[in-house]
Symmetry: C2
Subunit: 218 residues, 2 copies
C-alpha cells in the first residue's frame, strides 16, 4: 500500500499547487487532503521542494513517452505527425503548468537545462525521423534532415520566447506568419502550403488563442 | 602629451599580452617597454585588468565601425556586401585574439553578452539592410528580411560553436555544406549558387584553413 500512499500525496500536492500555488501550499495542507499523519509525509519526502522535483521528473518522462507515442503512429502522414509531435508537447506542458511556473518564478536554470537536453536527445531526432518520412512521401525536400530539425527547434523556441515576451497582437500575428514561412522554406515546401501548422500553433497556446479571438470580436 | 603616453601603454600591453599571454605579463613589463615610471601606469590605470577592459571596448568599437564601413560601400552587390560583413568581423576578431582568449579562459560572461548585444543591435540590422538590397537586385528572395537575418545569425553562431567544439574534418566539411545550403534556402537562392560564401567561410578561420589544407595534402 505504501507506493499508493506516496502517489496519493504526490497527486494531492499537484492539485493543491494548481489551486493555491506552490508558495501558498503547506505540508499540512497536503497531509490534510490525503488524511495521513505528518510523519508519513516526511517518511517519503524531505521537503515540499522534493515534490517539485518529482513532478518535474514526471513531466520530463511524459514528454519523452508522448514523443515515442507519436513516432509509433505509423499510419499518419509526415505533416500530421509533425503537428502531432508539437501537439503532444503542448498537452504535457498544459498539464505541468505548475512545474513550469515554479521554475520560471524561482529562476531556477535546472528545468531549462533539462528541457534543452530533452530537445536535443529526443525532440530533434524525432523531427528528423518525421522529416525523412516526408522526403520519402514527397511533401518535404531537404538534403539535411538532422540539421533542419535542429534549426526548426531553435526557431520555434525563439518564436515562443518572442511571443511570450511581447504579447502584442501584431507581434504574435507576424511571428506566426514568419514561423510558417520559414518552416516551409527549410522543409522545401511551396509558400503557403503548410497552413495546417500555422493553424495548430494559433490554437496551441491558450493565451494566444484568447488574444487572437479577442481581436476577431473587435 | 598625456593621451599619447596612455595610448603607448595600451599598445605596449597589447603587444605583450600577444607575445607572452595576459597571465605572464606584469605591470613592470609594460612600463619597461614604454620606458616610464610605475607611478604613471597607476595614474592612468588601476590594474592590469583595466587594460583588458580597454582592449575589449576597442574591439567592440572596431566591430561597430567595420559594420558601418561595409554598409557605406554602396557600389557593391548584396552578395559581396554579405561576405564583406562577415569578413570585417573576422578581421577584427583576429586582431583581438588576446581579448577573446582572455575571456574564454576566465569564463567571463560579460564579453559574450556584449557580443550578443552587438549582434542584435548592429549585425542583425546590417544583414537586414543587405538582404533588402539583394531582394531589389533579384539575388535574394524572402518576405521577412529582418527575421531571416536573425535566423542566419543564430545559424552561423551555432555552426561556429559546432566546429570549434568538434574540429574533426568531416564535421567541419559537413557544417560548411549545411551553412551554405541553409543560407541559400533562407535567402531564396538556387541550391549551390552561393559558393562564394562557402569559400569565404572555409578561409575565414585560420584553424579551419589549416585543417582543410592538411586534408588536401594527404
Amino acid at each position: 500500500m505504501s507506493a499508493e500512499r506516496k502517489a496519493e500525496l504526490i497527486n494531492a500536492a499537484e492539485e493543491l499547487f494548481n489551486e493555491k500555488g506552490f508558495e501558498n501550499t503547506s505540508v499540512d495542507d497536503i497531509i490534510k487532503r490525503v488524511g495521513v499523519a505528518k510523519g508519513l509525509f516526511y517518511y517519503y519526502f524531505s521537503s515540499k521542494e522534493d515534490l517539485i522535483d518529482i513532478l518535474t521528473q514526471r513531466m520530463l518522462n511524459e514528454i519523452e513517452s508522448s514523443v515515442v507515442a507519436v513516432l509509433e503512429m505509423k499510419n499518419l502522414s509526415a505533416t500530421d505527425r509533425f503537428i502531432g509531435l508539437l501537439k503532444s508537447q503542448k498537452d504535457v506542458c498544459l498539464r505541468s503548468e505548475i512545474v513550469i511556473k515554479y521554475f520560471s518564478v524561482s529562476r531556477n536554470k535546472s528545468l531549462h537545462l533539462e528541457l534543452e537536453r530533452l530537445a536535443h536527445e529526443i525532440l530533434v531526432p524525432a523531427f528528423e525521423e518525421i522529416i525523412k518520412q516526408g522526403i520519402e512521401e514527397g511533401t518535404f525536400d531537404t538534403k539535411y534532415p538532422f540539421e533542419t530539425s535542429h534549426m526548426l527547434n531553435m526557431m520555434i523556441q525563439s518564436a515562443m520566447y518572442n511571443m511570450r515576451n511581447d504579447p502584442r497582437i501584431e507581434v504574435i500575428e507576424r511571428t506566426l506568419e514568419v514561423v510558417q514561412y520559414m518552416t516551409e522554406k527549410l522543409l522545401g515546401m511551396d509558400a503557403g502550403t503548410f497552413q495546417a501548422y500555422n493553424t495548430f500553433i494559433r490554437t496551441a497556446y491558450p493565451d494566444l488563442d484568447i488574444i487572437l479571438s479577442k481581436k476577431k470580436k473587435m
